[in-house]
Amino acid sequence: MNIHSGPLKQALLGLIPNLRAFAVSLCGDVERADDLVQETLLKAWNHLESFQEGTNLRAWLFTILRNTYFSDCRRRRREVEDREGKKAAELAIHPGQQGHLDMQDFRRALNLLPPDQREALVLVGAAGFSYEEAASVSGCAVGTIKSRVNRARTKLTEMLGVNTPREFGPDSSTEAIVARTAGGTRLP
């Protein structure tokens, strides 16, 4: 049976939206993302013999895509660091009065995360991978993924300028919950 027959093409086609979403979230740039997807599809097609049938095609494609992205990053690391340094200096993001975060601000903050943390966050928080699956895609330990996700979340919170209840501007319902929870546990 020809492994390159119709079903594979269909399976790949079906996964493209998912792959593109991962690629854009990862690199923050649609054009670059589509180049990554293209390269991923070519590599997948040409190295299909290394895919174990019955395993997760989506996870395999994600692995190829992220490996492509990270080796690309290593190649242009210096340039990226310079650019991110400048962006970080410009960054002053504060949510509006209701603690509402603008999508544009969120995108910027996401793009400023270290790539490995952004990857972990996207895999687990958006692509629906379990920690175990994300670890296998990223080629690292489950604990590493968990700590990257945590650091990503902390950093996003810091960058978006919401560190304390006062800055966040608590509304009455939030305060009520805080008070109830605090009172319900163990306060002097």
């Binding site: 939206p17 293209q38 687990v124 928080g125 629906g128 379990s130 979340r153 546990t185």
Partner: protein, 108 residues
């Protein structure tokens, strides 16, 4: 909801969780070990919750609550970006690429 195909799953569960969470503050005290495997989205939003085992500090509790609400918001925005791209039609270049690869394969 198992994260295998999961886009509707995590989103749905997170909404449900949001509702549960404003109703009672107790969910964060579930022992870590009891989280269902593959329930990563739940983990993501639960991790920062005040926890019985953690050192008791009033400030961190209050901040924890705020963080929780913010984390839920961050999670929704992340998924919104992801899903927004997913909903776009497959660009023509990829359809053509796969057709070309398939045609090349058939010629062999």
């Amino acid at each position: 909801m198992n994260g295998k195909n999961g886009f509707t799953g995590p989103t749905g569960s997170s909404e449900a969780q949001m509702k549960g969470e404003s109703g009672d503050g107790r969910r964060g005290r579930q022992p870590v070990g009891k989280r269902p495997a593959g329930c990563a989205e739940t983990d993501l939003e639960m991790e920062n919750r005040p926890d019985m085992q953690r050192a008791p500090r009033h400030d961190s509790q209050a901040t924890g609550m705020i963080d929780r609400s913010l984390q839920a918001q961050l999670g929704r925005q992340l998924r919104a970006i992801f899903e927004g791209i997913e909903e776009e039609p497959v660009p023509e270049r990829f359809v053509k690429l796969l057709e070309a690869l398939e045609a090349r394969e058939k010629q062999r």
